[in-house]
């Protein structure tokens, strides 16, 4: 009896701990909110000093210079953010959030389905709303993320998720925004023990693999026009590409792969294409510009690809691409924990050629366009989701990216999470916290 009591106590304690570690999802917005006096970074290049921003039922209702508009804020929850800065929520593209947790543990990975052609598998289904990552992302301003399958040639369909929610349905912003495809590699990289370095050799199966991809697209396009068709889940999943409701995300690094893959997709009737690439895209920037292909670039915090490259190439790549007339945005190509530094990747792009507001676009409006979700997110504009945050200062710099408020579709979310709880607990242990 006594024993049972202790067990119950222990269980309660454990439950309490779990509750303390993960912030409780906020309820839907019930009262209109007004943010006053802050500097608004719209996300499209514009900045409004002394801004008045209001939102209601999760949508932005006003974005204006407070000096020029008079508004009755009666009935509003008014938050004075004078001296602070307000930003649209950063958007993390091409991530495995919710699909992979501790990457070294196989059981904790849900991102790669068996097989080469998997347009029908949907990342949102695997999405773990209790992942430890979202609280760490949003703590730094990343409020939206694309959850993306990987592996194979056609990895599956990705969805845009909000970094809050009780379950995947709750956290879902837009389902199945696009299909991810990795174009066959022209060259294969292998390790050479005699020189202890990597070297590339031509992929002998390249042509064969390209034919397989092209046939798949051709069949899918034809399937859509068949009146008496044999039901096919894979072909069904592809249809959104031909009517423009889904984006085709092409992963290709080599300049030749980039041109071939985009030309191929265009020939098969794909309407919206976004390229996920690296410095190889710079060689064909003219082609990308002319074809109006948005490009997702890896984090600026990377090493140059090649020994001879300018040492700051990854830092200045977003600037060089933008200068060449290509719309670019940034994603995190490294271990997922780094995704919370998305703002600083953009900050680095600003240090190496871009204006700060252009750099901001690479993680807000440009990303929204690249993902095909720019109607509702990516900027602080009337009618869009009130998914935004307030920072003590410049959110692209370490010294000033300190969030005081964040809202996801108007929901005032709790920022501290597990890590902050541990900080508090051990600071108290050592008497460091007053």
């Amino acid at each position: 009896m006594k024993k049972t009591k202790y067990i119950i106590l222990a269980m309660l304690l454990m439950a309490n701990m779990a509750w303390a570690q993960k912030p409780v999802p906020a309820p839907a917005q019930t009262k209109p909110v007004a943010l006053t006096g802050g500097t608004a970074h719209i996300g499209n290049g514009q900045v409004i000093e002394n801004a008045l921003i209001t939102f209601e039922k999760g949508k932005i209702t006003n974005v204006a210079n407070a000096a020029t508009v008079k508004m009755d804020l009666n009935g509003y929850e008014v938050i004075n953010i004078s001296g602070k800065h307000v930003y649209p929520g950063f958007i993390l593209a091409n991530s495995q959030v919710g699909l992979e947790e501790v990457s070294s543990i196989r059981a904790m990975s849900d991102s790669r389905e068996e097989g080469e052609m998997n347009p029908n598998v949907r990342a949102v289904i695997s999405y773990n709303a209790d992942s430890e990552f979202p609280p760490s992302f949003r703590f730094n301003g990343v409020l939206l993320a694309e959850t993306t399958p990987r592996g194979g040639t056609i990895s599956g369909s990705s969805s845009l998720m909000e970094m809050e929610g009780w379950n995947w349905e709750d956290a879902l912003h837009t389902a199945d925004i696009g299909i991810h495809m990795t174009w066959p590699a022209i060259a294969r990289r292998q390790f050479d023990f005699s020189t202890f370095s990597f070297s590339e050799s031509p992929n002998k199966d390249y042509d064969k693999q390209v034919t397989q991809v092209e046939n798949f697209f051709m069949d899918a396009a034809a399937y859509g026009k068949q009146s008496n068709k044999v039901a096919n889940l894979k072909m069904d999943a592809m249809q959104g590409l031909f009517d423009g409701t889904k984006t085709l995300f092409i992963h290709a690094d080599n300049p030749k792969e980039i041109v071939s893959s985009i030309r191929s997709a265009q020939r098969s009737g794909v309407k919206r294409i976004t390229l996920i690439s690296g410095s190889g895209a710079l060689w064909v920037a003219e082609f990308l510009k002319e074809n109006k292909i948005p490009v997702l670039l890896p984090a600026t915090h990377n090493l140059p690809d090649r020994e001879d490259d300018d040492i700051d190439m990854p830092y200045k790549l977003p600037h060089l691409m933008t200068q060449a007339g290509v719309m670019v945005s940034l994603y995190n190509n490294d271990s997922m924990h780094g995704s919370r530094n998305l703002g600083f990747y953009a900050g680095t792009a600003a240090a190496y050629g871009m204006s700060k507001e252009d750099a901001l676009k690479t993680i807000t409006s440009n990303t929204a366009i690249a993902l095909g979700v720019d109607k509702s997110v990516g900027t602080l504009e009337v009618g869009k989701d009130a998914t935004l945050f307030v920072s003590e200062g410049d959110a692209l710099d370490y010294r000033t990216n300190v969030l005081s408020h964040a809202f996801i579709r108007g929901k005032h979310i709790t920022l501290p999470g597990n890590q902050q709880e541990l900080y508090e607990r051990y600071s108290k242990k050592y008497g460091q916290m007053k």
């Binding site: 990457s103 070294s104 390790f191 020994e307 001879d308 900050g347």
Partner: protein, 1000 residues
């Protein structure tokens, strides 16, 4: 009288092909011949220094009887008139595996699969499978006719052969290239002892890295000394026995890069061995260091083909270093000669042996003297192998190993007619081939054609002119016969002719395309036109510079020390002065000379620091840049040393410099509870590996705990330990043994000189010695650690053995035991915000550094990563962002605090008068994402300058463009090309074995 005796002796034994076979059965009547030949009227190159004109060579059997001018040929000699011909001692290749079986190489396999902790060699051999000193090439050698033929065609008459298998490869044999008889070909069964940094067929897990190879060879030297000092031996070890026996032979060390040449030489120096070192032909990249080794070299002429750079996208894959090597490799031998380095030349590494002489000629065109070339192929190898009494020159009593050539050996047109091995001739190009070059009138069935024969006698080419067009003809000439066919019209069949020489031409029969038989004649009408511009390399070729290091971002010369006066900057002193505004700092003689306002120095170059920040240079406590390998895999790898394998050409060193980093601890990886010894280096980009090291720095060593050392990512692992409790036992065991080891030595050392004579000197054990250094506070631990339990454990082990753990590195759960750490006095070097990539980092938080710092633990932020390592200032800034740490304290976490951890704070880590001038000038607040280093200064030398970098990028692009153009020209003129293979080095992390496992 004496002469008569020799004559009698040789007579008895002559009929050379029979003498060695005296013990062999005969299946014929006796066929014993004198084997006496006289070569007359020749130009005889007796040795590289001595050439005799119009001379005679007499051989008898397999030996040279006499060489000289005005010799009269005794009766009974077959006379071969060599008027106009040359005779050379045949060439010697001292680095081959001729006549030995192929080595089945063990593939490196990272850390997958079950480890093999013991040798698989059956029998009483060495404990390590890669120690194959018991192997003797002579036991296995058998003639390989095909290779012998190829080698002879390139002028070789004898080679040294050893099996490229193992770190200790056993003895090599000296053999001739006779095709007849293994017993006579094997001239000296044990000619050398051989070593390398390549474990060959060994499948044993340890060692896998270059530093492990060095450690094992060092240990084997010590084992052999200990083993050999005892009689009877403590146990049987055929490998050690053979090792001891072969020490008096020439010692040859095979390497594959200039840096490995230095490593091999350093290894030899420790044991008083001067290795003869086989290099890779890139010695020119750092010729002064090569010279300083005093080693004699064996050098290949395996020049790379030009890269195919037609497609500009593909050309991007080829590094400038590879392009430059393509251009400069043929200058290597000239650089060796110019620097007075003794070298021999080998065919090793050539795709085909036939490339040997053409490549050698390229070297000569690039400045190698013909005398040096000949020396390197005759007397030098003979002397190095101590077999110059038998081969290498043409002197009385030496082997009749020589070649007969049409002209000077290294002239492009020269052909080798005959290659004589041990008195027996191998024909290559007929000696008496008739020269048919000229123009002829072909009369075929009444129709006239002009025939032109070009080229050298024995290798003629033919063209037929029909009207004005010139048609290639298939033609084959012997002195007596000719076969010739050509197509007079593009469409239509060929005319086919066969005939015989007649006067100055030919006559014969032939068939027209329609099968009609006809008669034909060819009458000489004149000399062949000599082509203009055929002389190659007429004009001096333009060559690029050697750069330091030999990498795209290398400098044409090393930066010099400067007196620099930085004016009016914001100076982060890291001292009690804090951050000083509008302050001047004078750097002089490599030191921080003055700090103050309105400083002047007449000799100083003034740098305007207005609006800029000057900080101490960044120091990374945990880095893996600048090393050729990171992990070996013995559970106790305390004997391996990163300092043995520093890589002076690692581009990440330059990239880190550009991020304001001045010094790093290059740590061993985390695959073992006890890892290898660290190297503390300054990022002196362009310097030699040894010069990167910080002189006088304390010794450090890597320890590691947790998932990596228990091989959690490898389900098949069988290596002890597999648990954290096993890890603890590894430590307790190692330190206990070290104490025992010390006792043994103390006991021995306390013996009297007399007692020592009969006592057995204990065996030196490198791992034990390292452990003992830790116990004696001469070496300091930096321990990779994550979870609190294991952190606590190691401190307890240290307490038990009465020492202090110097640093916990990574230490992501340090915040949970910060009080205990402060009490122990251990420092913490952590990641700013990495977490959740493996289970043991699940509870890592970005507040860790701040909590430990506030608890009184000396705390630093490290990188373990070449990317993060070049913006550590930003990583420090994260503690300001997350935990509100003061900016001064944050910057100290990447400057002064790591300096303290590495015991370097006496000379580095702050801006203080008298400290080393290791500083960074930033364009902005150093904790801002927008800050860039404009200058990174080490020892008062500007190793990185942002403006110079921009200029150098232009130079780099121009140099690439020049070389690409040159390669295109080479391709156009028919040179073979290779595909650019996009070579790139590994980016090392803690967990990399062969660099394939990427985790931290």
């Amino acid at each position: 009288m004496k002469n008569r005796f020799i004559l009698l002796f040789t007579l008895l034994l002559s009929g050379w092909s029979a003498w060695a076979q005296e013990t062999f059965p005969r299946n014929d009547v006796k066929d014993q011949r004198a084997g006496m030949y006289a070569f007359t009227n020749a130009t005889i190159v007796v040795d590289p220094q001595t050439t005799l004109q119009n001379a005679t060579l007499l051989i008898k059997g397999d030996k040279i009887e006499q060489v000289g001018t005005n010799l009269s040929v005794p009766k009974g000699y077959a006379i071969i008139d060599l008027k106009g011909k040359y005779v050379y001692p045949s060439l010697i290749d001292m680095f081959t595996n001729y006549g030995l079986s192929e080595v089945e190489r063990s593939r490196g396999r990272g850390f997958g699969g079950a480890e093999q902790t013991e040798s698989k060699t059956k029998g009483a051999y060495n404990a390590n499978q890669a120690i194959r000193s018991h192997y003797n090439a002579a036991d296995e050698f058998t003639i390989d006719a095909k290779t012998a033929d190829e080698m002879r065609k390139s002028g070789f008459g004898a080679v040294h052969t050893s099996k490229p298998d193992g770190l200790a490869r056993g003895t090599g044999a000296f053999v001739t290239l006779n095709e007849k008889n293994d017993n006579t070909a094997l001239l000296r069964p044990k000619a050398s002892a051989n070593y390398s940094f390549d474990r060959g067929s060994s499948t044993q897990s340890y060692p896998v890295s270059a530093m492990g190879f060095i450690a094992l060879l060092r240990q084997t030297h010590m084992d052999a000394a200990w083993f050999g000092s005892q009689n009877p031996r403590p146990f049987a070890d055929n490998s050690l026995e053979a090792w001891i026996q072969s020490q008096q032979l020439p010692q040859i060390f095979a390497t594959n890069s200039w840096m490995n040449v230095l490593r091999a030489d350093k290894l030899g120096d420790e044991f008083g061995v001067q290795y003869i070192i086989k290099g890779e032909g890139d010695e020119y990249k750092r010729i002064s260091d090569i010279k300083a080794t005093n080693a004699s070299m064996i050098v290949p002429v395996n020049f790379p083909d030009a890269y195919d750079v037609e497609d500009p996208f593909d050309a991007e894959k080829v590094t400038l270093a590879d392009m430059k090597h393509w251009e400069l490799a043929p200058t290597n031998l000239a650089a060796l000669e110019k620097n007075g380095i003794i070298f021999s030349i080998t065919t090793s590494g050539l795709k085909k042996t036939a490339d040997f002489l053409p490549n050698l000629r390229k070297s000569i065109a690039n400045g190698l003297s013909e005398t040096a070339a000949l020396k390197a192929l005759t007397t030098t190898p003979a002397q190095l192998l101590k077999i110059d009494n038998q081969v290498g020159s043409l002197k009385k009593g030496m082997l009749a190993n020589f070649i007969i050539t049409s002209g000077k050996l290294f002239d492009e047109k020269t052909v080798i007619h005959q290659n004589w091995v041990q008195g027996e001739s191998y024909n290559i190009k007929p000696l008496d081939a008739r020269d048919f070059s000229g123009t002829y009138n072909l009369s075929i069935n009444g129709t006239s054609y002009n025939l032109e024969v070009t080229g050298e006698a024995g290798s003629h080419k033919a063209k037929v002119k029909v009207d004005t067009t010139s048609i290639d003809a298939n033609a084959k000439f012997t002195n007596d016969l000719i076969t010739l066919s050509f197509k007079p019209q593009k469409q239509g069949g060929a005319i086919r002719l066969s005939g015989w020489s007649e006067g100055n031409g030919w006559k014969g029969k032939g068939q027209l395309a329609d099968g009609t038989w006809i008669n034909w004649t060819g009458n000489r009408t004149g000399d062949a036109a000599t082509k203009n511009g055929q002389k190659p390399n007429d004009k001096k070729e333009v060559l690029g510079n050697v750069i330091y290091p030999f990498s795209g971002h290398g400098y044409p010369s090393l930066p010099a020390s400067e007196t620099l006066l930085i004016k009016n900057a914001t100076v982060w002193t890291n001292e009690t002065d804090g951050i000083l505004q509008n302050t001047d700092v004078l750097l002089k003689d490599g030191k921080i000379s003055k700090i103050g306002k309105n400083l002047t120095d007449a000799s100083a170059k003034v740098v305007d620091g207005t609006g800029k920040h000057l900080t101490a240079g960044i120091i990374d406590e945990h880095s893996h840049i600048g090393a050729a390998s990171i992990n070996d895999i013995a559970t106790n790898s305390g004997m391996v040393r990163i300092g043995d394998v520093l890589d002076a050409e690692a581009i990440n060193v330059y990239r880190a410099l550009a991020g304001g980093v001045v010094a790093v601890q290059v740590l061993h990886g985390s695959s073992n509870p006890i890892g290898g010894q660290s190297a503390l280096i300054k990022l002196r980009w362009g310097e030699s590996p040894e010069n990167l090291k910080i002189q006088g720095a304390d010794g450090f060593i890597k320890f590691a705990l947790g998932e990596n050392v228990k091989r959690s990512s490898n389900p098949s692992s069988i290596r002890y330990p597999q648990t954290r409790m096993g890890v603890e036992q590894v430590y307790v065991d190692a330190f206990t043994n070290a104490h025992e080891y010390e006792k043994q030595w103390n006991a021995y050392n306390s013996l009297s000189a007399k007692e020592k004579l009969t006592a057995i000197k204990p065996r030196r054990d490198l791992a034990n010695e390292t452990m003992l250094e830790i116990l004696n506070k001469k070496r300091f631990i930096s321990c990779h650690s994550y979870v609190q339990s294991e952190i606590n454990m190691l401190m307890k082990v240290a307490d038990q053995f009465n020492f202090r753990v110097n640093t916990f590195t990574h230490i992501l759960e340090g915040y949970k035991v910060a009080d205990k750490m402060a009490q122990h006095g251990v420092a913490a070097s952590t990641f700013s915000d990495w977490w959740n990539y493996k289970w043991e980092v699940r509870y890592a938080i970005p507040y860790n550094a701040a909590i430990m710092h506030r608890a009184g633990v000396l705390t630093a932020i490290n990188s373990d990563d070449a990317e993060m390592g070049r913006r550590l200032n930003q990583e420090a800034a994260k503690s300001v962002k997350y935990a509100g740490m003061s900016e001064e304290d944050a910057l100290k976490m990447v400057t002064l605090n790591p300096a303290k951890m590495l015991h370097l704070d006496g000379q580095m880590g702050s801006i203080k008068t008298g400290k080393s001038a290791d500083v960074v000038l930033w364009n902005d607040h150093p904790l801002s994402v927008y800050a860039k280093p404009e200058k990174t200064i080490i020892d008062g030398k500007v190793y990185f300058d942002i403006e110079k970098d921009a200029q150098n990028n232009k130079v780099l692009a121009e140099e690439r463009a020049r070389l690409i153009q040159k390669m295109k020209d080479a391709k156009k003129s028919g040179a073979p090309t290779q595909r650019g293979e996009g070579r790139s080095k590994l980016q090392f992390h803690c967990d990399d074995i062969m660099g394939l496992d990427l985790e931290d």
